[in-house]
Amino acid sequence: MSMAFNEEQDELRKSVRRFLEQKSSSADVRRLMETDEGYDPAVWQQMAEQLGLQGLALPEEHGGSGFGFLEQIVVVEEMGRALLGAPYFSSVVLAGTALVESGDDAAQKDLLPGIADGSTIATLAWVENPSDWTVNGISATAKRSGDGYTIDGKKTLVLDGHTASLILVVAKADGGPSLFAIDASAAGLTRKKLDSLDMTRKLASLELSGTPARLIGSEGDAAGIMERTLRLAIVALAAEQVGAAQKCLEMSTEYAKLRVQFGRPIGSFQAIKHKCADMLLEVESARSAAYYAAWAAADGTDELPVVASLAKAYCSDAFASAATENIQIHGGIGFTWEHDAHLYYRRAKSSEQFLGSATTHRELLAQQLLAAESV
């Protein structure tokens, strides 16, 4: 396993960063976060048409470019850095991956091209209990109805659930937890936007009452699909956290060089200098964790379950720490609404819990280590 990106991947990073510097400036982020939708449809289309980001890692036969997970990681890392307001994580990382992992050719043929070209905004709704990110304890039920199904139940913490046109929902059928596709205009679906701590990431709750749904894969498939999907999603989230943490480090270092107190830049004081040094070590270590997990995902190695949880746990902690210290190093100005420090802090404290806390993932890591013959 080589621990470096190749030149094409570096080029991809450069072009994504350039695009986001233009389209997701601080002013853009702030404008979009005040809207209910949280994204700019024009920029969303440019992402698809100019850079092909939505379809980047989706299969070529379904409208994607067929690149691998490493390219996907480069993109989400840059989006994290820029705090891009867009339904990318929901539509591509969650829903897109779930469809790919479902192995349902027909559904992929019908649904992936829209996700790949950005014309469909999709999301994945599975959570009912905020402390359980698995599908083990869900209550939503799916009943056969004609040649389809109807679903009853409630879902929460649905990313972009109020704006998505396609919603993948996990519900219990006779065969166990199963994955379904629902059209946003379907009967019996009530969507409610929720106020979110991280205003750049929009959330909704759903109520389904006899809502018609299409089964993806077979009944009982959702446990496996979701396990594989979330394993990749936490690696993507870890990379997003690395991108944002890196930005916090840069903001802190820059300010520490510029801000003068007691006749010298505050970065010359050990209290600040050592904070920045610790932050660098944590950000670099987080990067190692996210990249190693990404390579494990790309190579499909057995290590993935262990290293994915390792990455999510460590990157959550590192980003939370970087975002918090960034405010501390900025002092008063870092506590003002006008400064961007709080946008990263909100993202950090929100994504720390999203898809399972560090504590949860360390427990998963321990489970797998202890189940192994030897460490």
Binding site: V127, P130, S131, W133, L157, L194, D195, S196, L197, D198, R201, L203, L258, R259, V260, Q261, F262, G263, R264, I266, F269, A271, I272, T324, I327, Q328, G331, G332, I333, G334, F335, T336, W337, E338, A341, H342, Y345, R346, K349, S350, E352, Q353, F354, S357, T359, E363
Partner: protein
Amino acid sequence: MTTTADAALTNAGAVRDAVRAFLDENFDRDISLRTWLSRLVDSGWASPQWSTDWFGKGLSADLAAVAFDEFRKVKAPGPPAGLGRMLAAPTIIAHGSDEQKQQFVRRILTGEDAWCQLFSEPGAGSDLASLQTRAELDGDEYVVNGQKVWTSGALGADLGMLLARTDVDVPKHRGISYFAFEMDQPGVEVRPLKQITGDASFAEVFFTDARVPAANVIGELNGGWGTAMTTLMNERVGLGAGAGLNFPISAPAGRKIQDQLEVSVGDYIDKVSGGRSAQAGSAGRNMGLGALVAYAKKNGRDKDPGVRDQIARAYTLNQLLAWNGLRAKAAAKAGKGLGPEASLGKLMMSHVTRQNRETALAIVAGDAMLAGKDGPLGGSVASQVLFTPAPSIYGGSDQVQRNIIGERVLGLPKDPDISRDVPFRDLKVGTQSKAN
């Protein structure tokens, strides 16, 4: 300043009897709040820890606590709990002239004046002494120009504790004066400052040829740094939650709300009773652990071993903050007890606040992503998350407190301050290239 004490009040019994006698004679639910406050101030019971010379009884913290306990029994309203009483009054008593004490302190206790603190500037945070706001003498007044930031209560304040530079040709600590500054004048503009919480409980204050009488300098001209130290020490005590000694309810303050002093004592008690506490410190923004534990139980989160550990940690730090305060108070003698040790409480409050946040997050798990009306506990978990970075910054950052503790409590040598002896006009400040 020396503290003189009421010679009769030497033990808890005597204090209790004296307060009861005072209450019997003066406390009446039907008199106006203004009349009651006036009686309270004249009696010395409004601030019994202060010297008998200046509005007090000269009591030790222990005995003052006994007095407040008696007032608590009848829910007697006390003087306003804002920055006037917490910061301005003790500073003026320590450094002001007798005229200034008469002029300013009584009106603070009676609720006639509200005060704000005009210290921090965009370029002068941790290094407060590098402040750039200028005050230049013009006849018997100073003309003030510059900008302050992080001023709480600026809109309702009648007066401000203003630090301004009165000499730029001497090193930074030696050219600052401390003014009692009238806020209601044309040269003052107050702009609310929105914080990361979304609230705007602070303001920026801009001075353009604003004016303050030379007679309003508190302490020595150019000796404002020493005067300010008293204010800052009192602030640290307050922010470290070491200022718990108080009346059960406090009166409102300020010229703009004088009509509120006309209500009867009884009506006032009924209105605010069970509501606002007398504590002016920041602790009010920290979540109560009780609500979190109840939430954890209700949602089955109390079974999670990580959550249990976080609950134990939060309980521990909250108790230690309180116990440290109790120990400090037990050790303090009458009129004493304010010292660099206050920085320990201030620093502890930062730890407590962060721990409260982490415990709350562990309990609510994924719902931590939600805020406002959709957030857990009515959005108060999100509020806790957003408020948490504040206590380690305001009132002197954690780094500043650690310097104070290291140097002034433990006696470790100072970091060399290369700007200490440079004339202010040659100094680089904030993110600008030159101070002036």
